[in-house]
Amino acid sequence: MKSFGKKRLFGSLKKSLGAAAAVVGVALASPVQAGDTIKIGFGMALTGGLAGAGKGALIAMQVWAEDVNARGGILGKPVELVYYDDQTNPATVPGIYTKLLDVDEVDFVVSGYGTNLIAPAMPIVMQRGLVFPALFGLAVNEKFKYDNYFQIMPAGPEPMTDWSRGFFSIAMAQDPPPKTIALVGADAEFARNAVKGARETAEKLGLEIVYDESYHPRTADFSPIVNAIQARNPDIVFVGSYPPDSVGMVKAATEVGLKAKLFGGGMVGLQFASIMTALGPKLNGIVNYDFWVPEPTLRFEGVEEFLAKYQTAAEGKGVDPLGYYLQPYAYAYLQVLDQAITAAGSMDHAEIGKHMRDAEFDTVVGKVKFAPNGEWAKTRVLMVQYQGIEDSELATFTKQGTRVVLYPNEWVSGTINYPYAE
């Protein structure tokens, strides 16, 4: 908003003008800047730790832009994606979003992938009152309490505990119900939160926590951890882990012969094609969260078409060849924005934000409705069990029945094999 006050000399005057400018600016932003295209800006992890998922998300978003432009754009204008690599480094995010808004003059911003890269954009977005569709951050809005934040990850209105609700619901439905639990997680953002939520739920359910530890993400060998868990003989084991340690954990559990009745929960990475094919039959019996699997209950309208396009586009790019996990949601969070802009009939952020809070959206991940805190109004963290996997072929994991949905009830597609260590 520099153009409003090049020659202001007094701070107080500037401050009041600045506030006025902010108000005018939001009102003016759309008609003045809207040229022939609608620009959507974001930072995305294209290098660094989260780049595998980030690149996949980017391809999904490009598929969306092509689809929208093929049908004539939004409000008659073609869309254009403007994006930069955030290097999986939160420190780059404030600069990127300021550049997008002030230099590239994008009309909308959406978030990059992951809590750590969403949070640093929040102050900038809030300052300008923009709608902010976000991609896979856990409980980001708990501190900011921003009413135009919309999280596409279906964690649910209480993200911390909703995350593992399904795991416990399945466990407690068994006969006899489990009495003891072991909690283990990586020393990093998501895993800590997932385990924290699980701990609260376990305490509420009166389960005895017999092991509760975290480990360094660099850990190379997980057998000491699994041995220590085994020694306490828990009925169920909840794990919050990242891709490399999820693999380490699963390998160690099969090697040690973990005797738990339920094993899994919040293991990131077991949804990725490269890791599923690496682990193959070792996955059998694990009950873990997921967001989309090729089960008949989850064939939402448009999802298969989207996946086909994604899979063609992803070929040879070194990203997940199947694109089940986050990709449909990366497509869907733009669909939500698209539908809200269309419904509002203008590019006014306040109007669009209001619509996003109130309406229900039809997307490739099903119907989406947001709670007041910007999370999904109802949790849809799936708990799936890996069943009947006999080989390590990619095609195996495209078949229905290899990842059976056990929770929530609305989407159930099979029955549990219990206990895990059969």
Binding site: Y215, A228, S274, G318
Partner: protein, 290 residues
């Protein structure tokens, strides 16, 4: 919570892990310990080795360890080439300390980014018959995924140790950092000897990389995580001592495993580095310092 079974398991797992750490540190022990070349890019070369194993394994189904062995000469010549550049640019000008370090930092980044450009950032792993089995000896589990790399590592140590202690060139490598002049009097060219030694150091990373990818899935920047560990081992060993490197690696592996089992895994890395800091403060010549 304590039981004999748990302790035995921790010791066995720690020993196996230590064996693997040893393989990763061996090359550094030669180049850094004996030749005084601070090759901070060493773990990056290990990752390069992992990707060679991955490529051969995923494309032709070849055994990762055999691939590592087959590529050892290739890596040896890469090492020779890197040393030539290093020597011409820094060592000859007696300028290696600061700039040489920065040089290897740059090399590390270039390898990492090169791998990202070719293979992307997905996690990669290999298939082999010995991955995923588990032997039970009483209450103690021995995963073959850890045991096979352990054995390979020991053999690798034996080979390098025999070469360094029994051959003329090997002894010359051990002597070069200590007394160049004496070496010259023996009619050995110190530059050629160091080139040979550095080549061996990088050569070991081909095999060490294969072992790494057998144990865990990898992506290009994972090498950075091992910088601390390999240097910790090299220093703890007392620079340049080959048996010392093995012992230090085992100590580190066992310490991590025992702490992880009995005190909680989140303290394991700090304990390892705590040992290093104490060693540096009180016994900088290492456990087996000369």
């Amino acid at each position: 919570m304590f039981s004999v079974d748990l302790l035995l398991n921790a010791l066995v797992a720690g020993t196996l892990l230590g064996g693997f750490y040893a393989a990763v540190s061996l090359g550094l022990s030669v180049s850094f310990g004996q030749l005084n070349i601070v090759n901070i890019a060493h773990p990056a070369f290990v990752i390069l080795g992992s990707y060679v194993a991955y490529m051969g394994n995923s494309r032709w189904g070849l055994d990762p360890i055999l691939l590592g062995l087959a590529f050892t000469p290739v890596f040896f010549f890469i090492g020779v080439g890197v040393y030539r550049v290093y020597y011409e640019s820094f060592e000859r000008k007696d300028d290696e300390a600061l700039r040489g370090l920065a040089f290897f930092f740059g090399v590390m980044f270039i390898i990492e980014v090169g791998l990202i450009m070719v293979y992307g950032v997905d996690f990669r792993s290999v298939q082999a018959p010995y991955i995923g089995q588990n032997w039970k000896l009483g209450g103690v589990g021995v995963p073959t995924r850890m045991f096979v790399p352990f054995c390979v590592s020991i053999l690798m140590f034996a080979a390098v140790y025999l070469y360094l202690s029994r051959t003329f060139n090997g002894r010359a490598i051990m002597a070069v950092a200590q007394d160049r002049l004496a070496l010259q009097l023996m009619a050995a060219d110190p530059v050629r000897i160091k080139q040979l030694g550095f080549g061996i150091g990088i050569g070991t990373t081909a095999l060490a990389g294969a072992l790494l990818i057998i144990i865990i899935p990898i992506e290009p920047s994972i090498g950075r995580l091992y910088i601390g560990q390999v240097f910790a081992i090299a220093v703890l060993a007392g620079l340049g001592s080959i048996p010392g490197t093995l012992v230090a690696a085992l100590v580190l592996g066992i310490a991590e495993s025992v702490v992880s089992t009995f005190f909680g895994p989140s303290w394991a890395p700090a304990v390892a580095f705590g040992i290093l800091l104490l060693a540096l403060a009180f016994r900088p010549q290492g456990l087996f310092g000369r």
